[in-house]
């Protein structure tokens, strides 16, 4: 059998033959090839992902399900996950992004949770690259077009511009939903004698073998593959959401799976395997959009806006009535049984049959050779003496604020409905997004972040820094951290240095998660993000979720009050390695990012939370891209207030002002609260750097800019 034609390796083919006890037929080979693609099977990364801590007091559901769930208390859970849709967005930006948003929303829905908010991670090429404008405007319009119509607010996100994404933009979609803990829908609860029901849109040829497509390099030929791009219909999704939630509230669903990569096959075999039941599917009963589809095409179609339900035969009538109300197709396509096999019939004839667990778990793992890049350490050497201090500090700061990754993203988030569902307390344009939970005091706090530049310089430290940044932001706002989800966007694992970077990034992230008690509850891996013109930087994207006890103790940023004292909590000697400042000067590979300090980081988080809880400050902002200087500029602009600042430290001012990394925050503290604030931070590096006054932001020996000028560049409404 010519298994290579279908994209299977010899090892995989042999594993299949041994599990089946016979040679697979063509239909089975096609199904195996997709189910065992990198995208579906995680064969290159499964063993690495075990480094992540995934359990904890607050974890209700960990990795391996449609999404993770954390406990918000009083029988309420937050289900969340992030997922990449990079390759489709590179080829068909609007539809790729739209269906990425639709897919992640269904993941949340599949657990019985009502999706309450989305965020997006956008990674675009250099603004002057000829395709960046059309890719970025298409992707942004796709995210908005879908999210706005389904009525899930897009409340925040992260946007990065870098030449490494020139023809390989990334779109990572994050969604969070709420579900009472005793109403979670599980994929493990199917029993023999139940019905397999397909709810939602008809099945067409769209996205056939899309999962396999996501597992190869993007080449010029990818454009010719356009027919395999799925088309999103947010209207159908909105109906599907309402129908599924109505079915769930009426307790008519035994089990539910969304149909994403590898469509019906993936979703149904997963339920069969996890529930430990057999399943027979009659593909001739699947409502089709194209009459002449073959069984393998039906098996692998990635048509959007479909859900797979397991229903008790007694409830079928009621299920059909709900489907009819929402004008959705609803077809019984199979049944569960006590066998151990997963079988597909076509007009009564068997066309494929596997042991239920083979498709999801049977792919032999794949380990790639790993090699530390030879020039890694060389890149860390940078002669700081060769870097002159800025001659014109004002110009330096303004230029930094205008770099595309730091500049305001209003043009993006204005296209997103960030307020529908009326829960948005803090929307896009801020370090974190905050949602109220109706009927409760506590607030959900969400952060999405990434730092590909530091991951490129030092994957271990960069990985840790990426996770730490999200936790710092949550802690400063006063949130307890509940858990995170990640999208690991990397280039091909087949290049040893690239595989090494993947391993190291994961180790760094895991180290930080362990140290700060932040379990990884869901996530996804996207490999092969490279084009003939280059590979992307290692880009782990992290979405972290926290809970703020009440509005009273939520400490926002950008709220300076006249006369407040300004403090820098944290060390002054950060690093310019991978900083926006050095990047803007053209030094991509220079300096090493700061080492991750588990104790320092945990200590900072504790004190930051205490500061918010004890109302020790009027405003707080964890330092991130652009360092202290950009934090001062953003806070000043948002507060419409100036400040007079002195930095009485021997460290070079460019390092203090523009350095990045490590646990550091800028606080503005009312005079009366200064003693309390100092007590909270006693024993931790703390520097009083100035006071809020007037309408000019002045740092002695550096810049002095009228706030009006900063406001005109940094506008957040």
């Amino acid at each position: 059998m010519d298994f290579k034609r279908y994209g299977l390796r010899k090892e995989e083919y042999e594993a299949a033959v041994s599990a089946l006890g016979r040679e697979p037929n063509e239909c089975e080979l096609r199904i195996l090839a997709v189910m065992w693609s990198e995208h579906c099977s995680y064969k290159s990364t499964k063993h690495l992902l075990r480094h992540f801590p995934s359990t904890g007091e607050k974890v209700v559901l960990g990795p391996g399900e449609n999404a993770g769930i954390v406990d918000l208390g009083d029988n309420l859970g937050a289900a969340f996950k992030a997922e990449s849709h990079n390759h489709p967005s590179a080829v068909a930006p609007y539809q790729g992004a739209a269906t990425g948003v639709g897919g992640i929303i269904r993941d949340i829905l599949a657990l019985g949770a009502r999706p309450v908010a989305s965020m997006d991670g956008l990674f675009f090429g250099s603004p002057d690259h000829p395709v960046t404008a059309s890719l970025s405007s298409g992707i942004v319009a796709g995210v908005g077009g879908y999210g706005n119509a389904v009525g899930v607010p897009t409340v925040g996100g992260k946007t990065v511009y870098d030449e490494c994404y020139n023809e390989n933009p990334l779109l990572n979609a994050f969604c969070i939903g709420l579900v009472p803990l005793d109403e979670i829908v599980s994929s493990k609860t199917a029993r023999p004698g139940q019905l397999v029901v397909l709810l939602g849109s008809k099945t067409g040829r769209d996205g056939i073998a899309g999962a396999a497509f996501a597992s190869v390099l993007l080449s010029d030929d990818s454009k010719a593959n356009k027919p395999s791009i799925q088309i999103g219909d947010p209207f159908a999704e909105k109906l599907l959401i309402e129908a599924c939630l109505e079915l769930q509230s009426k307790k008519l669903i035994v089990s539910m799976q969304d149909m994403g990569a590898a469509g019906i096959t993936s979703s149904s075999s997963e339920v069969a395997a996890k529930s430990g039941v057999g399943m027979i599917l009659h593909f001739d009963r699947v409502p089709l959009r194209a009459a002449d589809m073959e069984p393998w095409e039906i098996a692998l179609s990635e048509s959007q806006e479909r859900m797979l339900l397991i229903v008790d035969p007694l409830h079928l009538g009621e299920v059909q009535a709900v489907a009819e109300k929402w004008e959705l197709d609803c077809a019984v396509i199979g049944e569960t049984n006590e066998e151990d096999s997963y079988t597909i019939l076509w007009h009564g004839t068997e066309v494929a049959s596997f042991p239920a667990a083979l498709l999801g778990d049977g792919c032999p793992p794949r380990r790639w050779p790993s090699k530390k890049p030879e020039d890694l350490e060389k890149n860390w050497h940078f002669d700081m003496d060769s870097l002159p201090l800025p001659k014109d500090w004002n110009a330096a700061l303004l230029a930094l604020l205008e770099t595309p990754s730091l500049a305001p993203k209003e043009w993006i988030y204005r296209q997103y409905d960030s307020m529908v569902q009326t829960n948005t307390v803090t929307g896009p344009g801020h370090p974190l997004s905050v949602l109220r939970i109706r009927g409760r005091d506590s607030l959900l706090a969400l952060v999405l972040d990434a730092d590909p530049w530091k991951c490129a310089l030092d994957p271990h430290r960069g990985g840790a820094e990426t996770v730490a940044r999200t936790i710092r932001t949550l802690s400063v706002a006063g949130a307890d951290v509940l858990g995170l989800t990640d999208c690991l966007n990397f280039p091909s694992p087949e290049v040893p240095e690239q595989y090494w970077a993947l391993e190291e990034c994961i180790r760094g992230m895991a180290e930080c998660c362990e140290a700060l008690n932040c379990p990884v509850v869901s996530g996804n891996v996207s490999l092969y993000n490279e084009t003939p013109s280059g590979a992307i930087c290692p880009t782990p994207v992290v979405g972290t979720v926290g809970l703020i006890p009440s509005l009273e103790v939520y400490l926002p940023s950008g709220r300076w009050k006249e006369g407040d004292r300004l403090f820098l909590a944290g060390p002054c000697n950060s690093s310019l390695g991978g900083s926006q400042y050095l990047l803007s000067l053209g030094h991509r590979q220079a300096e090493r990012p700061l080492m991750f300090s588990p104790e320092g980081e945990a200590d900072f988080a504790e004190r930051a939370r205490k500061t918010a809880r004890m109302k020790g400050a009027s405003s707080g902002r964890a330092l991130a891209g652009g360092g202290l200087a950009v934090a001062l500029a953003k806070d000043g602009a948002e507060s419409s207030r100036g400040a007079r600042i002195a930095l009485p430290v021997p460290t070079r001012h460019d390092v203090v002002l523009f350095g990045e990394g490590g646990p550091r925050a800028l606080y503005s503290v009312p005079v009366g609260k200064v003693p309390l604030f100092r007590t909270i931070w006693k024993g931790y590096p703390l520097l009083e750097i100035g006071r809020v006054e007037g309408d000019t932001l002045t740092v002695e020996g550096a810049f002095s800019l009228p706030i009006g000028e900063l406001t005109s560049r940094w506008r957040v409404r």
Binding site: N148, A149, G151, P234, F235, M419, V420, Q421, T422, L551
Partner: protein, 238 residues
């Protein structure tokens, strides 16, 4: 005061507006599925909420305007009952010809979501009686097709009969191009029917009905409606 909120397939602000009315006024609100053919007995106010009814396919609001429930809604409006369309609901009202004009794609051609300042042009309507004349309020907008359009002679007629209730303005109340988020003629954000009982507006009062969401100007809007009924207003026009 009894309110019915119509839910079309694709409506997505129905729950928001139901909560805002219930929580601000503490009065009965009944969700009404679009396939119903009658309003609940004793309905005083019908609200057509925001969203993307029928996916906004063809033209926003076009298919919802032909939904089964609309016959009863139109009858309610025609006999003077209070009828409110917010965002997509405003589009349904123009598509139903209960209000003049049409809502076209924003002049930027992209969806626009942001807080917006409005000048209240009429304070003698059932929906705005608790605002002060020319008060500047902040209601957010979130739409892709909110450019209000009317041919010049009809526009003149609308302005002459003081049919404009809300206009996009600067924070200080100037009606300028800079304050116009979508290219609407004469900065029009909301208009009322000749009978004074049917209001359509693009901005969302239900999104600023609680301080935790960053504004409470919307409460004045809901309270106006309650006050209209409490002062003996009948849901059959002014």
């Amino acid at each position: 005061m009894k309110t019915a909120v119509v839910i079309f397939p694709g409506s997505n602000c129905d729950r928001d507006v139901i909560c805002a009315v219930r929580e601000t006024l503490g009065r009965e609100v009944i969700p009404l599925w679009h396939r119903e053919t009658a309003l609940p007995a004793g309905t005083d106010l019908v609200i057509l909420p925001g969203g993307f009814s029928f996916g906004d396919y063809l033209r926003s609001g076009a298919m919802a305007a032909r939904s089964p429930v609309m016959e009863a809604v139109v009858a309610h409006g025609k006999k003077g009952g209070l009828l409110l369309g917010i965002c997509n609901g405003f589009q349904v009202l123009t598509e139903s010809r209960l209000l003049p004009g049409a809502l076209l794609p924003n002049d930027s051609l992209v969806f626009h979501c942001s807080p917006c300042h409005l000048r209240v042009e009429r304070t003698d309507t059932p929906f705005t009686n608790s605002f002060t004349p020319r008060q500047i309020v902040q209601f957010p907008i979130a739409h892709g097709e909110g450019r209000y359009f009317l041919f010049p002679d009809e526009l003149r007629a609308l302005e002459d009969r003081l049919g404009v209730v809300f206009r996009y303005s600067t924070p200080s109340g100037e009606i300028s191009g800079e304050a116009n988020p979508n290219g609407s003629v004469n900065n029009i954000a909301g208009i009322i029917s000749e009978g004074g009982n049917i209001l359509g507006l693009m901005p969302h009062p239900e999104r600023v009905s609680e301080s935790i969401l960053g504004g409470e100007d919307g409460r004045i809007f809901w309270k106006s409606i309650l006050s209209f009924f409490e002062k003996g207003g009948k849901s059959n026009g002014l």
